[in-house]
């Protein structure tokens, strides 16, 4: 996501306009990224310490967002949770993007049987509902953080593949690629120097949308108790821990949900308001 935010900023200095809603989205995303990096030094209380005599405490000056089901400080737990939600999601979107785009471009360049087999296999993978796939994997190998990252990456590879392949097929027919082929350039050169630079803009935007899906999936899994496990807690896990506070409308249930919503809505707004020149310059 950082790359999306910075590329938007750079282009706007180059003369493209980005509107106020887009900037607001970018600021919220930037805020959560800073929080994720700085969390250990800005949290007001250690996340494991019981600081409130009561559980599901209300919001107040000492505990901004109240306390959780054990009386721990909710604000600190949410700030630390940003690390898990953002970190895991960014890691899997990077893996999904790298693998999907590489395979997609390879399929587009090679064509023929390679293209068909890859497309069929990945389409089949795509027809397993994402939550279900992760449930099955978690049942089989448990839910450590590396397993979660890889599972969610695998789930979103077909989407990235399809998108990159569609773009690369168009570029692949252009004269400069044909010339490079005739020159006898290697496959890796074709990918690196000819195709990739021409599809990178829309591909990054697409990965931004996939990042949103991954955040939602991760939160959903953690909410079901099959994602991030204690003692770690991402935002979805925080909602799950404190779901018992729902009948009292405890801030401990509401604020982690709001944190997820603020991140995903901000990314969506940012992407929707990117100048169209970045979004589909190469796709058109």
């Amino acid at each position: 996501m950082t790359s999306d935010a910075t590329s938007a900023g750079r282009r706007s200095r180059l003369g493209y306009r980005i509107n106020a809603v887009g900037i607001a989205g970018a600021l919220i995303v930037a805020f959560w990224i800073v929080v994720a990096f700085a969390a250990p030094s800005i949290i007001p209380h250690p996340i494991g310490d019981i600081v409130d005599s009561d559980y599901f405490g209300p919001m107040g000056r000492e505990l901004w967002l109240g306390s959780d089901y054990l009386g721990r400080d909710m604000a600190s737990r949410i700030l630390m949770g940003a690390r898990y939600t953002l970190g895991i999601s960014v890691a899997s979107v990077i893996i999904a993007g790298a693998a999907g785009v590489t395979l997609g471009v390879i399929a587009a360049i090679m064509g023929g049987a390679v293209d068909m087999v890859l497309s069929r296999l990945l389409d089949a993978l795509n027809s397993i509902p994402s939550k279900l796939f992760s449930l099955v994997v978690v049942a089989a190998v448990g839910s450590s953080i590396p397993v979660l990252i890889v599972t969610m990456a695998v789930i979103y590879i077909p989407g990235a593949y399809r998108f990159a392949r569609a773009l690369a097929v168009n570029i692949n027919t252009m004269d400069f690629v044909v010339v490079a082929r005739i020159r006898g350039e290697s496959l890796s050169y074709l990918i690196r120097a000819e195709i990739l630079p021409n599809i990178i803009g829309p591909v990054l935007v697409d990965l931004g949308l996939r990042f949103v899906f991954i955040v939602l999936l991760l939160s959903g899994l953690s909410f079901l108790g099959l994602g991030v496990k204690p003692p770690y807690a991402d935002w979805g896990a925080l909602v799950r821990e404190n779901i018992g506070g729902l009948p009292y409308a405890a801030p401990a249930v509401i604020f982690p949900s709001l944190a997820i919503a603020s991140l995903t809505i901000a990314v969506n707004l940012l992407i929707d308001n990117l100048p169209t020149k970045i979004r589909d310059r190469e796709a058109s």
């Binding site: 069929r120 296999l121 389409d123 089949a124 993978l125 027809s127 397993i128 509902p129 994402s130 939550k131 279900l132 796939f133 449930l135 099955v136 994997v137 978690v138 049942a139 089989a140 190998v141 949103v212 939602l216 939160s219 959903g220 909410f223 079901l224 108790g225 099959l226 979805g236 909602v239 779901i243 729902l246 009948p247 009292y248 409308a249 249930v253 509401i254 949900s257 997820i260 919503a261 995903t264 809505i265 990314v267 969506n268 707004l269 929707d272």
Partner: protein, 316 residues
């Protein structure tokens, strides 16, 4: 051109079949790969090596994986889903009643969500760029970018905590009157309706907007037809294919939704059964639930594609 459509539909069905086989293969292997020997798990730590060996033989665990897969697949086709590890009941029996419950929930949601979403989507397309359309679009972006459990918790907060109309997170199994029924189903159905309507409104709006941009609609406008007539008589019949396609696709989002909704409202359906099976690592049960969900999903997406083919007049 009749047989061109037929061959396209057949090709799509063939792809669906291949996909179904690959998917069941994937589900079987994902669950068969787990560490630990099934026979040892079943018999417990105290079992003698001879007993473990006997059970391994009886369960064909020593066979190559491909044979086990084929045997399992043959069983699934015949309706024999194996026996649950957790309580030794046939899986088919465990799933039966639960499946009816899930279908009840999904059916009820579809009956409410489809007309609602289509009305909103089509009117939004008719009143494009008005305040109504913009509010709806913003609401949809909001709904599709938050997790399903958040919509469920908001529904609980609103209806159970602030308004006090409904009981909070609890599903009563005793339903005697229509009133009980409505109270029990209200929140799960409202949550699911919101989740799938958002997609359906978005897609049906896009479909109608696209047809409204065509030359023949402009022609109808120029000859002085009213706005209602343009949409209902000229645009809608041509947008019908994409809309039905959108409905089938949106219904496939129900599958993801029910997993969360059944868990949060403690609803006795297949998805809840599966989530519970994951925590007890009851493999035959997980495999069967997963297959049911995958095939349901595949059925809906294939239907969506076939409708798209059939409704395209250029192929006729």
């Amino acid at each position: 051109m009749k047989h061109r459509i037929a061959s396209l539909v057949l090709a799509r069905l063939a792809i669906a079949l291949v996909t179904a086989i690959i998917v069941s293969f994937a589900v079987f292997f994902a669950t068969a790969m787990l560490p630990g020997d099934t026979a040892t798990i079943l018999l417990g730590q105290a079992a003698t090596p001879e007993a473990v060996e006997g059970l391994r033989k009886a369960m064909h665990l020593d066979d190559p994986a491909i044979f086990r897969f084929l045997r399992w697949l043959a069983g699934v086709v015949h309706g024999d889903l194996g026996v649950s590890y957790a309580n030794n009941m046939p899986v088919a029996k465990l799933i039966g009643g639960r499946l009816v419950n899930t279908l009840k929930l999904a059916g009820l949601t579809a009956i409410i969500a489809v007309p609602l979403a289509l009305t909103l989507g089509i009117t939004a397309a008719m009143l494009r760029n008005t305040l109504y359309d913009r509010c709806l679009t913003i609401a949809i972006i909001g709904i599709v970018s938050v997790p399903e459990f958040m919509i469920a918790t908001l529904a609980v907060l609103l209806f159970a905590v602030y308004l006090n109309w409904l009981p909070a997170v609890s599903f009563t199994s005793e339903i005697r009157t229509a009133y009980d029924f409505a109270r029990a189903y209200a929140m799960p159905v409202v949550t699911l309706t919101i989740v799938i309507s958002a997609q359906m409104i978005r897609m049906s709006r896009a479909a109608v907007v696209e047809t409204l941009n065509t030359p023949y609609v402009e022609m109808a406008l120029l000859k002085g037809a009213s706005r209602g007539r343009i949409v209902l008589r000229h645009a809608l019949p041509n947008a019908l294919g994409p809309i039905v396609n959108a409905v089938a696709l949106s219904l496939s989002y129900l599958l993801g939704g029910v997993i969360i909704v059944e868990t949060i409202f403690n609803y006795p359906g297949v998805a809840k059964l599966m989530v519970d099976a994951v925590s007890t690592r009851d493999l035959p049960l997980i495999q069967s639930c997963a297959i049911i969900f995958c095939f349901g999903f595949l059925l809906l997406t294939t239907t969506a594609d076939i409708i798209a083919i059939l409704s395209n007049p250029r192929l006729r």
